[in-house]
Symmetry: D3
Subunit: 235 residues, 6 copies
């Protein structure tokens, strides 16, 4: 099971069209990946600069799937880099390799560290998609609440303290950041709040690498069966 040879080729699929974001997530992923892992990033060709809310999320899901289709057979694992975004079931049908959504990896890792997970988001429009994403993965009972850090400024980690403290006061055991690779905020909150703070992207990188190493891949039965007739539909 463990004699996978050669490097692991991870594909990160950005959910938005921003090249800056793509560069940032590549760098965060590469920093935690194994030496034998290579990291590529696919940036959608249509969609929005910053995905927030249901409408953006559905546009982004299609744009991301379009990118993934071009990587079929050319990567060993896919990481969907959009917290609370749609499309993971489509990706699992499309790809033969393991697909890890950072929302799943972040939530599952959080559940290993504490009972009730508090999510810290930066826009009220993210609440609905995140709530539904977690319900769809079956972990709604572990989600305490999604707190919107209204005034927080991503470039100032300390501005997230008020939101983090609100989550802890409400009973959160762990904080999960609704973003990807917000490492400075993660470190600031861990140091100052004394609780684990989870980032979905770094977790997803390690878990996807693990699945690849263990030769585990997506089920092709039922929901995720790929009908070869669909090949023609790939754009």
């Amino acid at each position: 099971m463990a004699d996978v040879t050669g490097p692991t080729r991870l594909l990160l699929v950005n959910c938005n069209t921003s090249g800056t974001t793509s560069e940032r997530i590549r760098s965060v992923a590469a920093a935690v990946a194994a030496e034998t892992t290579s990291v590529d990033v696919a940036t959608p060709e249509f969609g929005v600069e910053r995905v927030v809310g249901f409408y953006d999320s559905f546009i982004s899901a299609a744009a991301g799937l379009q990118m993934m289709a071009r990587w079929r057979g050319q990567c060993d694992g896919v990481i969907m880099v959009g917290f609370g975004e749609h499309g993971r079931e489509g990706a699992r049908q499309l790809m033969d390799v393991p697909v890890v959504d950072i929302t799943e990896a972040g939530m599952m890792a959080s559940c290993l560290l504490g009972n009730k997970v508090g999510i810290l988001a930066t826009s009220d429009l993210m609440v609905g998609p995140i709530r539904d994403s977690i319900a769809a993965m079956g972990l709604a009972s572990r989600l305490l609440t999604i707190h919107v850090a209204s005034g927080a400024d991503p470039s100032d980690p300390s501005s997230f303290m008020v939101g983090a403290q609100a989550l802890l006061a409400g009973g959160a055991d762990v904080i999960l950041l609704a973003g990807a690779g917000m490492l400075e905020i993660q470190e600031h909150l861990m140091r100052n709040c004394g609780v684990p703070v989870v980032d979905g992207l770094t977790t997803a990188v390690k878990w996807c690498e693990s699945l690849v190493q263990l030769s585990l891949t997506t089920s092709k039965l039922q929901d995720y069966r790929w009908d070869p007739d669909k090949a023609a539909t790939l754009v």
Copy 2:
């Protein structure tokens, strides 16, 4: 509340790219709509001829939203014509008018007629999306099962009898057809099985008309708040 004047302009959004389907659903909808209702159909410009399964569904959701965006301000209600397809939350954020997904209308109507609803589908790839759509609307406890009528031929209503009987034997009180406007099959099963058989499209037409008549429209709070900055992102 009831002094809406002028005709009700319903927009049906087809989930696939087939003009034949668009014509068929227009005709089914028009046949049950009020005399004062006009029916338009938007056919996606990309996607697939026949949507079956998660991958198709996510592509279709984006394609449908793109069409809807062009109809903002020019219709009184939207009906999403794809059984078990994604995108309704995005449509509700995008549009100011009521949006009815035929999966919702079909399931809710079924719940008014019996306790346990059995869904009759024509492909195993539809099971996952339908199951998740119904869970997301909160009615999973009312869904008995989704039965795949493997060998059934849409042009031969009697070929659906085996599947319908399997649902009844399993305890279904009502049968919901996983399609849109399959009226001949509906009539055949109703006549031969002695149970209500529900079609989501016709139900959605009447319910959408009702919401319009009652001046009820989509909430623009929270999940469905439309951020005007997004206007630029409309394709």
Copy 3:
């Protein structure tokens, strides 16, 4: 399916013994009904002037069923006009035509307009029956909370504003009024709160008409099978 001829005869079953209420709900229903629909109201012969709470609700359920039994074969659809009241499953067993409870219609319509529904009630004794009614229809996950507008005066719509605002502050996307045909309150809140406010009675009228038009009727399998031996038990 659509060639129903002649007028649709709707029967409203009042849950209380008040003729004034019966007159008011008839008038509200008639105002939104189609021209070809006739509206009759059955007023129970025993029970209470105003149903509030579990005890009243169970008395009222039996009184309403007694009235309905007299209308078997003489109406095309039944609307149970009591928000949160018991008895709909009994009515569905008794009657051959579609039965719509205004609690169901109001809740389902609300779910088409927003994610979380906040209910505005006028007595704390209504909370239990409404909560249980919504759980029984399977939509508990969509109910945010039931707020009791303690000091509100039905004749002064503005007195409901405090309660409505409490629901919105708590995260409700839609407000559902725990009453029947409170149209002035509905209009006042819609105008002043900027959210959809749903009335169960008007919604139920349109949905029941729709079910009749679409030739859909109550399942007579299992739960709602009518045993002819019961005829003797009808009072």
Copy 4:
């Protein structure tokens, strides 16, 4: 807490109008009651000889509440003797003493004896009301299934063996009889199946006695608050 003096006066409320049933349940209850307990039975003045299904159940609920109202202040505990029947919440609002529904007592006792409870019923019309009653008490996750012993004859205990074995084959750990005081069937199945078989009536008698002895009585807050104005409504 334990200095209750004098005998405990239990009131059994039959759900049907049959004096024979009333006599039988009185005798079963008396046989297991403490020596210091007296047992009275109230037989409804309207309703049906044998309650089966939703319609009967709602009529019976009102008839039973009418009887109970006459016993206010004259008994120490009430047992509602109808398996899967409606009305317990109304009874708790009406009465100041503990109210135990045999469906609750039977289900709770079963849950102390095994994980998954299989219910053995004698009519398919009982399935819906029992299922809903158990869901309303919050124990749906402990109910394996409700099996209808179609051909079984209450006067022949061995005729219930087929149904009991079906439940065990399906994974039931405990069998709960959907009836009241079917002691011969209970004994026959226990002896021949090697599993606990629970009767709701005998369990309810002991639990109601216990609540009385421990001075525990129905909460009069919220749902079960009795509004003195209702006194006039008692028939």
Copy 5:
């Protein structure tokens, strides 16, 4: 079913190593037990003086099971005296007689008296185990919340009033004490709050006696089947 002869021998299994606690719970149990019931208490030989939290609870579960193993065949019923503690499923596998956990008995009795149960605990470390214990018995939907009466002093009943009032303000219909035999606190709160206050130990004594009288005992199918090979493993 009712001809059990001779006294009922109840075994209380203390969850901690304190002989003082053992003496107190014996006395509380004996005070409510029937005259024909004898009460023994087993005190674990290892573990902690006062069980609070998950770690203690798992140590205590094993210590209690060790004690119970010595009483196999020598008692008629077992009561596990630890509110929210682990081990009941193991006890049911080990013993042939009925096993009642005071958490179950207390929660079930509370559910007979009101809809929403509020639990009053004395340490924040108890919250997790109690929450999980109630979820495992299937009654999570009936639990309003677990309130920690931080400053309360068990020797001063009035110090629990603040916590009790917080539960009532939050919507609790019944208060369940997270302890065993805290009768003075129970009486104080009942007298001063006007709601039922439930103690799990006294309830468990009566319910266990009832199961014994009714010849009901633990299912030995599946989960609780005792494999005779395990005899050697008993310490």
Copy 6:
């Protein structure tokens, strides 16, 4: 976050007393661990040779916690090697480092690969503990069923084919083995069934290493707060 220096010291806690098992799991873990990871195994000093069922599981939980207590401060991560066994919440309270239960890791990995997980167990006594373990982690909705491969012989991988096929026929998308490090069976089933087959132990090793690398550790708030007074209770 990524500058952890030195090797990662993983502690595997065997759930049974068998040295042979300890040796086997050490070897399986070492084979998939990173080169910089060291693997130690703690073998309980009391308990049973093979843990099957609730009673064994509770004894084992205490025995495992006793071992872990000796390793406080001397390892970087703990893996609880018992599929479906109790105790993880106690371990999280006791230890300052991440704790991964193989049941959790196996279930979470499975959920990344398919929608419905089928578990393949080797004894009917394991069904209850596994079912409850998965419910407690919040993933019950993703568990299709637990199938007992009655006649299967761990030394003959092909003997598990019948059970695996039963799971697939029932609708499982992924198979999760209810054991630890059953790699030959895993490989045999993957090769012959064409679906992912997950082993909890190897998954847990990789995930625990990941948590350590990412500096994520158990929350010490609330449930898992360690009260220093408990130090005295460590055996």
